[in-house]
């Protein structure tokens, strides 16, 4: 896949980092502000998609990246499931129970395990949206070949 013009490349260079940071902010503050794992994950994926579209990439690299995102995605969702299963062992011993101390309402580190779910769901959503995007590009490249 070919990249775009210099103007697009430069603008993307400036913006992509900010978009990525904003995604992380939305994920981390999921239990305090609107947003959360899903919304933040989509924003994070957006920064990678911007870079791929602006700079282009060759076919072999794309397939390697897709393998990476698939594994990341599955690891993240598996971790989220394991956190839920850990509720069976710690605390009240109930699936999906909040087994970490709740902390003080309104602080960044509070709400027990909910920020952890948000983080792993954020990684999962970012990786899976990137996987879908890469799969579509790879499919298009295969057709044009």
């Amino acid at each position: 896949m070919k990249g775009m013009t210099l103007i697009v490349k430069k603008t993307t260079q400036l913006i992509a980092g900010l978009v990525f940071l904003y995604g992380i902010y939305v994920v981390l503050h999921g239990h305090l502000t609107p947003g959360g794992g899903f919304a933040g994950g989509v924003i994070i994926a957006g920064s990678f998609i911007l870079l791929t579209l602006a700079y282009g990439s060759d076919f072999m690299k794309l397939t390697r990246e897709e393998t990476g995102t698939t594994i990341t995605e599955n690891l993240a969702i598996l971790t989220a499931l394991l956190i839920a299963l850990a509720g069976l062992i710690f605390g009240a011993g109930i699936f999906f129970s909040n087994w970490l101390p709740a902390g003080k309402a309104g602080e960044l580190i509070s709400a027990g395990v909910i920020p952890l779910y948000n983080i792993f769901i954020g990684i999962e959503v970012a990786a899976s949206i990137l996987t879908i995007f890469l799969a579509l590009i790879i499919f298009k490249e295969e057709i044009t070949k």
């Binding site: 690891l75 598996l78 509720g87 699936f95 999906f96």
Partner: protein, 512 residues
Amino acid sequence: MNPLIPLLVAVPLAGAFLIMILGKFVKDINKYIATLTLMFLVAATLVLMAGTGSDVAVYRLGGWDNINGIPIGIYMVSDGLSGIVLCIINVVGLLSVIYSFTYISRYTSENNYYALFCLMVAGMNGVVLSGDLFNIFVFLEIAAISSYALVAFGVGRTELEATFKYQILGGLASLIILFGIGFIYWRTKTLNMADIREVMGSETGKPLYLLVQMLLLCGFGLKAAVIPFHAWLPDAHSSAPSPISAMLSGVLIKAVGIYVLIRLFFNMFIISNETAVLITTLGTLSMVFGVFLAIGQWDIKRLLAYHSISQMGYVVMSAGMGMILLSKGIKPEVAALAVAGALFHLINHAAFKSLLFLNAGAIEYRTGTRDLKEMGGLAALMPATSSTSLVASMSISGIPPFNGFFSKLIIIIAAIMAKFYLLAVIAVLVSIITLASFLKFQRYAFYNREAANNGNNIREVPFPMVLSMVLLTLFCILLSLIAIPQVRDVVLTPAVNVLIDPHLYTSPILGM
């Protein structure tokens, strides 16, 4: 609270994700993980059923208890009915995975196959165990979306066309279901099925109540392929790889279609006579039209798919008869018999229809065709396939002493005792036509020596495939034992009691 209830959903999910990670690095680990997962599920189901018995076990996720008798959390509920359906899902699932070892090795991307299989099982277990409407919808989507992908697994012309049709109609069904759930939530401010029964109980017969009933009947009717909604089933079930056809026909339409219909209309809604008559009519129509559509088919898997519609018609009709009697408040023991017949036929259909699809897969594996006219004389070449499919054909046509005979007998006896003589006659006639079409299947596939032009290296299928077929054959014979009253009291009666007396279902959930 029994931790096995959430594990029945969590373990197959974890299995699916592990397959996608480890399968990239270790060859052939995918089938071992899938088998171990399904083995755990079968064991867990049996332990759960033995522990629960005739009680209703409630699991409150995250430990959110009722507040003033109002359920606020997500509840998972396991009772006699879900126990039966869980057994069907996981046992047929395990046998299909074993069958897949050699069958699926001709396709690429086995990792995706086993991962999607585990996801589908997780979705169905979730539907069956869920205690609230919205989680039924979520798990139904998990099961349905993985089945769309599995139907298209061959990525040929027919597979893609079938899965496209299946996706469109399945998506429409999900939309209708979500619409119905939305109406219920708007009216009652709750999604818990037991709570909805309490809150909406005073609104029977009002327009909104009827609208919601019809929306959910259409939506889950589409998933269950009851006759006016059946268009997707023959294509989807015949194009999928055979172990998946066995799962779709033997399990999926029951777990996400029939089970939910029965659960909603017995336990969540208060049955009215008109709805009960409508459901019975739909069941009778599927029974009759399904079998007439089936008898003209020459493609084995299409023939079997149409028979699924017809046999599910028996289940829906019998459950509908129970509903009519319950709504009139007469003859409760006959209603119980009709519902027991429906559930018994549900179990039996899972055994023989999965077996028939596995047989069709075995024939296709060796001969490379699904057309009955191109086969012949396979009885001598494939003795195990031939004998197991003979047992399955006799079961589905209702020949004693196989299981199909007893469930059809119970349904017919219930129809006569309830004085629905016409339905009893129709049930007998449909059974005879079923016998005719399976005689055709047997003759053309296995005994038609003159047409046998395929002597070149056709032999029995590999051992894992034979093993699953033989085990399912044993089920076909052993399930007849449920007809004995003592066994029936253990297996069917808890489920029937929960359906006949909704109070048994609602009171443990609402903590009354």
